[in-house]
């Protein structure tokens, strides 16, 4: 009962500030605290207890309790506990002290909270707009419940543009993005460059607006959302759908049947396989080694075919429903999957050898894009970025879900902190994934695939779920609600935190290393941008005014 111990520790130190606590299981801890004490508590948890910052969530709870809710999620990785600090704010004046000063990783989350829910973080060090487009009126907060899902504010200013910081002395501005061959999705880095060296950068992203969270909270229903969640990301779709269903299941205290858990594990690992193969190829492509890129993709293809055979589609698996999975792995598919894995392993080994021996690739990746322990801690970076810096975290082991508690695997770490270490980590993880799938196929017993849910899900319960996506931890936060749909669903993709480490990674590096440094976190902007509201019919929102774009693309210096 480590969760209870942690709670007692907090109670001893902050007795009166803790209003109530909820321990739905020994892996999850919800602590309701007074808003005034939040900052001090966060500092204590983040610095003294050395927890990992996960995400901050703002929710509009006015229709139900008349208040706003702020939640700061932390993870005690060695204790296997996910902890959420919750505070209720008055409905008429939602203000809370910013924690970005003590927890730098909360920077984006607090800005997002301000933009979308209108919860002001007092004393934020960089209170600029993050998510909403620049022309969006100040007082319309799309994730508030009184804003309809298809609301188009008439006051939208078409020509507004983002105000960047002043260019540092002696530097020229190199606009990196919104469109660049190595950025698969739009995001904009304004690089301040001195000669060939990058001295600093400013980020303006969130350009792909899809309003996924608002849609889920207003028009979808519990079992529709996994299909929507799957479309948050083009690579780790299954991760998001599993994370969502697990969060709902945690909130409603449901446990899917064992066979369903094994099947989820298998498909999550298949997704990791194809993502890692894709990424290693992509990294080679970024440094100009197209042959390995093509070979990696060739090796990857059978995994996609296998997924297509199991689920009916090579990428959007449509796997999860609340309480189970939809597709079964028949004995024939099992045999075929085993063959595919054997072939994959046989082909991947020489490729790993080729990459490891290649001096050229190492020259381009060693000592590049360095993110050490400190950067990882402060940015809340996760996944291969953290593991390559020697930070031994992996949700599959630390916060076991699905069938990961029943399989053996190693968590691969490296100590180089650089791009090369990330390449090594991801290359080796492929073998672990293969081993995990084999064990699952071995241990899986026949049984039902879905839980029979007779009653409606309970209302107002909170569920957390962390799933290790190929690029890092995906964290989902769900408050269950009425009308067969959640009240609040917050998705935190790994890139959301990893991207915040990029400015530190590229500072004082060559501009040529920018692409591989950014590529090394495997950025997924669609995951990160998932939640801006948009009018589906007209799509008239533009973050980037045309004038600015033209000026950027033609601009000298």
């Amino acid at each position: 009962m480590i969760a209870r111990e942690r709670l007692n520790q907090l109670k001893d130190k902050f007795g009166s500030a803790i209003l109530r606590a909820d321990l739905p299981s020994d892996r999850q801890l919800f602590v309701w605290v007074q808003p005034e004490a939040v900052k001090e508590l966060c500092r204590h948890i983040f610095r003294d207890l050395d927890a990992r910052y996960v995400i901050s969530i703002g929710a509009d709870d006015r229709p139900f309790s008349g208040k706003f809710i702020v939640a700061h999620d932390f993870a005690f990785d060695t204790d296997h506990v996910l902890c959420s600090l919750l505070a209720q704010l008055p409905g008429d004046e939602p203000k809370i002290e910013s924690i970005s000063g003590v927890v730098p990783a909360a920077n984006w989350a607090e800005r997002e909270m301000r933009d979308l829910v209108g919860i002001e973080s007092v004393g934020h060090p960089y209170p600029k707009r993050l998510v909403l487009p620049d022309g969006w009126p100040e007082d319309v907060h799309p994730l508030r419940k009184d804003v309809p899902w298809n609301h188009v504010p008439p006051e939208f200013k078409e020509g507004a543009s983002f105000e960047f910081e002043k260019t540092p002395e002696g530097c020229t501005v190199v606009p990196f993005g919104p469109f660049h061959p190595t950025l698969d999705e739009p995001a904009h880095f304004r690089l301040y460059v001195e000669g060939e060296m990058v001295r600093g950068c400013e980020y303006r992203g969130f350009m792909a607006h899809r309003g996924i969270e608002k849609l889920a909270e207003s028009v979808m229903s519990y079992n529709d959302i996994p299909v929507l969640a799957e479309r948050i990301c083009g690579i780790c779709g299954c991760v998001h759908s599993v994370a969502y269903t697990q969060a709902v299941e945690a909130a409603a205290a449901l446990r899917p049947p064992p066979r369903a858990e094994y099947i989820r594990t298998i498909l999550l690992e298949m997704e990791r396989l194809h993502s890692h193969l894709l990424w290693v190829g992509l990294a080679c492509h970024i440094v100009g080694f197209d042959t390995l890129f093509m070979q990696a993709f060739r090796i990857r293809e059978p995994v996609m075919w296998m997924a297509e055979k199991i689920t009916g589609n090579r990428k959007t698996y449509g796997l999860c429903v609340v309480g189970g999975v939809r597709w079964d792995i028949t004995p024939e598919l099992k045999a075929e999957l085993n063959q595919t894995l054997n072939k994959l392993q046989a082909e991947w080994e020489p490729l790993v050898g080729a990459v490891s021996r290649d001096k050229n690739i190492q020259k381009r990746t060693r000592g590049v894009g360095v993110a050490d322990r400190n950067v990882v801690k402060n940015a809340g970076a996760v996944g291969p970025v953290a593991r390559a810096a020697g930070v031994d975290i992996d949700c599959r082991r630390d916060h076991p879900y699905a069938a990961y508690d029943r399989v053996d695997f190693r968590v691969i770490t490296a100590t180089g902190c650089d791009v090369w270490s990330r390449v090594v980590v991801r290359m080796k993880e492929v073998f672990e994934s293969i081993a995990i799938i084999r064990q699952c196929l071995e241990k899986m017993e026949p049984g039902p695939l879905q839980l029979e849910i007779k009653d409606e899900l309970p209302v107002g319960r909170i569920g957390l779920s962390s799933v290790e996506a190929p690029r890092g931890e995906s964290h989902h936060f769900v408050i269950t609600g009425e009308n067969n749909r959640p009240r609040r669903w917050r998705v935190r993709a790994p890139t959301y935190q990893n991207l915040q480490a990029v400015p530190a990674m590229i500072r004082d590096q060559q501009i040529a290393d920018m692409t591989i440094s950014l590529g090394s976190i495997d950025p997924c902007f669609s995951c990160t941008d998932r939640m801006e509201t948009i009018e589906l019919r007209s799509g008239e929102r533009k973050t980037w005014p045309q004038k600015e774009l033209l000026a950027l693309s033609q601009g000298k210096k």
Partner: protein
């Protein structure tokens, strides 16, 4: 008679370079594809690509459209002028119109036209590409010049026919300087033809084609054709300078053998390009600088007749 031969020979060289360059490029793409376990485009694809680009609207996007057009034509013109000066299976057509020094200048002009193209377009990425191209040129051009000077020293003449005939091997019983130079040139050939691992100036994944970023349609076609021709030209210079064997054979044989050599060099370039990652600009420069040091030794040896 000599005038007729000069005109006819030049026309033949230009026509061959223009028509074979896309084919060799097609071969290159095809072989690359095979190394990468792909099927690859048809051999004639580069011709279709060029035709398509030529048929497109000529968009004037930069700030100095006249300069951009000039740069496009200049790049091709410089390459073709070099084609007239090179012996391609028979004596150089414009043998007496210039010497090795002119050849060096014209080859530099190819690079300068790229610089011009990037500067005229004037976008940020073009300018980064230009600065990289400039740095590369500064360290790279002396290498070629030294190779030609070593040849000239041995041949005792600056005449094209004399130098581009394996003259580097003429010193002593063991032609040390020639052997050093051939190694150096082999190691830097990728850079001259701007292929991986030394395509830093136009690195697609970093600078989006660098100097050529702003070009489209017919102008891009000219640049691309010039680029393909450049591969043939450098291979021809290399073949003339370092692979003289068989060039004295009677007309069809020697001529065919020359193109076989060029083809073999293209093959070599392809293989190297397909099996390497791109260098960063500082790494590339350091590499060139060390080659420069080695070739300086060769030059000293050559002056003493070795």
């Amino acid at each position: 008679m000599q005038v007729v031969w000069a005109i006819f020979g030049s026309a033949l060289n230009i026509a061959l370079v223009l028509s074979l360059a896309p084919l060799l490029h097609g071969v290159m793409r095809r072989i690359t594809a095979r190394i990468q376990s792909r099927q690859g485009p048809p051999l004639l694809q580069p011709y279709f690509d060029l035709l398509k680009l030529l048929g497109k609207e000529d968009i004037e996007s930069g700030e100095t459209p006249g300069m951009q057009r000039l740069a496009a034509w200049l790049s091709l013109a410089a390459v073709l002028a070099v084609a007239c000066l090179l012996p391609m299976g028979f004596g150089a057509p414009l043998n007496l119109a210039g010497d090795v020094i002119l050849l060096i200048y014209l080859l530099t002009l190819c690079g300068v036209s790229t610089l011009l193209a990037g500067m005229a377009a004037g976008s940020t990425y073009s300018l980064i590409g230009v600065s990289r191209e400039m740095m590369t040129m500064i360290t790279l051009e002396p290498l070629l010049a030294m190779a030609l000077v070593v040849g000239a020293l041995h041949a005792g003449s600056l005449r094209l026919d004399a130098v581009l005939n394996g003259s580097v091997y003429m010193g002593g019983s063991v032609p040390w300087s020639g052997l050093i130079m051939v190694t150096v040139m082999l190691l830097s050939l990728q850079a001259f033809v701007q292929r991986v691992p030394f395509d830093v100036a136009g690195a697609e994944t970093e600078l989006m084609e660098g100097p050529l970023m702003e070009y489209s349609g017919p102008k891009l076609a000219l640049f691309q054709l010039a680029n393909m021709a450049r591969l043939v030209i450098y291979c021809a210079v290399f073949a003339g300078l370092f692979l003289p064997w068989g060039s004295q054979m009677p007309f069809p044989l020697g001529w065919l053998l020359f193109w076989v050599k060029v083809f073999a060099l293209v093959l070599l370039v392809t293989l190297v390009a397909a099996t390497h990652a791109r260098y960063r600009i500082d790494q590339a420069l350091r590499y060139f600088a060390s080659l420069l040091g080695v070739s300086a030794v060769a030059l000293v040896l050559a002056t003493f007749g070795y």
